[in-house]
Symmetry: C2
Subunit: 333 residues, 2 copies
DNA sequence: CTGAAAGCGCTTACAG
DNA sequence: CTGAAAGCGCTTACAG
């Protein structure tokens, strides 16, 4: 059997309570006994049993993560792994552990969230995406369970979130394209169910507005998924109507399809993506893309959540991570 | 306070022991009481407290994962996320949870492994890489803690592992290159501390041997890391001595550097990579690469570990996952 | 088939 | 500053 607190107590000639207090750094313990107890722990190579602690404390110092399991995105878009890394870095610093589940779809996601909550396995949950009508968000708020969302949630107050300013990022991007001389600027976005899709579209529209360029709804596409194919298809359809001089997409994968179309048809169109995936610099031409700093998103999500778990009042319940426009050849001329 | 087994017992008019037996599907419980207990659980929306169960069972149904935190590799090489996905899929099927830590370096890795073991947080550990003198492997074997390694460990018996047949994969690959007419075939491998590096080198040598091509040590390079730069540098040095007609690399990133060198110097050399990363098909020319089926590696690692945790005697303690050569333009002519 | 009781390894309010 | 005791929410050998 493993060494327990009792063994240490016996060896140190104190009560288990005292050993426990030493472990948890209770202030009201004399230096003398501390030394003795530490020595005993050392000698026995005692390590606290985390599970027992968890039960007594009703806390696990563990965060739960739900990872949407979209194969394509997971590999080609480093968002999730970067975000996880950020989460992990902050959590490890604060001695929190991380538990995760892959989910196949939103219902699945909800099931895992439910399990996290009920089983008492985790102290808090980080959601890596925010949908328009997010079942998990609804459920967690209703259960009053601590959580944070990466992605600004829609129409919900009093919940913690971190996000980029997607509106501003797209606004600036379009502005820059206009400065470079573009005036027929198209927009190819992803599924409507993601809130950032809408924010980016708004930023695009606003930039055109303020520059007195009219918004042409026929140059706006909302695809069903972030794939090369959908980007290509959108271009195909768009060009039957009009060939733009710039195309803003909300995801690098969409942009890849756009680039492919452009190359095949020998067009000259500026193209931009989002996420600054590793693939983007290997495109021909290399793709200009907005880096959303996913690691920072994760880091700050963990920070917000852990601070609130530790009882620190957060002055604000959200955090905005800056974006960075990485300009490459695809927008040069 | 949350609903406990006692509340259910009271409502169902049975003892807590009985409720517990119903939950854990004990066979010796009458159908009648089962029904009553289930009804009570339903009514109270009772969910078992996993932590308490863990303590009583001395098992957490959780697997621990150590993820080597090499930024570059993590994003550009989907190996880890694919392996994690495979692990996750099998684990979820068997109702195991997964906990992970990023490690900065091998010592860090060992610390996290230690913590996993001591804290009793996890029932078993999956190591995502095997080094030559692997501290974690040594430690875990010595502690007799259940674990499995992705990557064939060196010089160690009685431990569970999954891997590709790296020897065979490289052997076949080189053979194919020879068939295509190559005879000055160079080899650019990664750091020696990874065991697969050696296996791949052996496969390369054997293929040359059996075809009666001599092994030219000056065409063999072992770089310090899997990066574009090292691949490029190796080429640079190699070509001062001799320009090969084919280059086998043990990682796509190395191959990217090789391709870059070839393009800049207008050479005609066949190139192959390993891992079939998403980037490889976007190269110019698209890169031929060995797909190591990382998801399967993860899946089978989890399977081996969980089976052994559940007390099923595994007839074998390792599993070989097949590789697939994905041929693209880089080896065409 | 079921219950009372002890136990898993900690924590902590209470008393001193 | 320290200890005895009760408790966290389960499980299970023992007895019936």
């Amino acid at each position: 059997m493993a060494i327990t607190i009792k063994d240490v107590a016996k060896l140190a000639n104190v009560s288990p309570s005292t050993v426990s207090r030493v472990i948890s750094q209770s202030p009201r313990i004399s230096e003398a006994t501390k030394v003795i107890v530490y020595a005993a722990m050392e000698e026995l190579k005692y390590k606290p049993n985390a599970i027992a602690r968890n039960l007594a404390n009703a806390s696990t110092k563990t965060l739960g993560l739900i990872i949407p399991n979209k194969e394509e995105n997971l590999f080609k878009n480093p968002f999730f792994i970067q975000a996880m890394r950020g989460i992990s870095i902050y959590s490890q610093k604060k001695n929190y552990k991380i538990m995760f589940n892959y989910s196949e779809n939103p219902e699945d996601e909800l099931n895992y969230v439910r399990e996290f909550v009920h089983s008492k396995w985790v102290d808090g949950i980080i959601l890596l995406t925010a949908y328009e009508n997010d079942l998990c968000i609804d459920y967690l708020s209703q259960q009053d369970f601590p959580f944070v969302v990466i992605g600004r949630p829609y129409n919900v107050h009093d919940i913690m979130w971190v996000d980029n300013d997607n509106f501003q990022a797209t606004y600036n991007l379009v502005n820059k394209l206009i400065q470079k001389g573009a005036h027929d600027i198209a927009f190819i976005g992803g599924p409507q169910r993601y809130i950032f899709s809408k924010d980016r579209l708004e930023g695009y529209k606003r930039a055109l507005d303020l520059r007195n360029l009219s918004v042409d709804e026929q140059l706006i596409f909302e695809t069903l998924d972030f794939t090369d194919e959908y980007g290509y298809e959108a271009m195909d359809e768009m060009c039957k109507y009009k060939v733009p001089d710039a195309v803003v997409t909300t995801d690098d994968l969409l942009a890849f399809g756009v680039l492919r179309y452009i190359k095949e048809h020998h067009l000259e169109i500026k193209v931009t993506g989002f996420n600054n995936t590793p693939l983007s610099e290997y495109q021909e031409p290399p793709l200009t893309s907005v880096d959303i700093r996913a690691e920072d998103l994760g880091y700050n999500a963990a920070k917000l959540l852990i601070k609130s778990l530790e009882g620190n009042e957060n002055p604000v319940n959200h955090f905005i991570v800056g974006t960075e426009l990485v300009e490459r050849k695809s927008t040069e001329k």
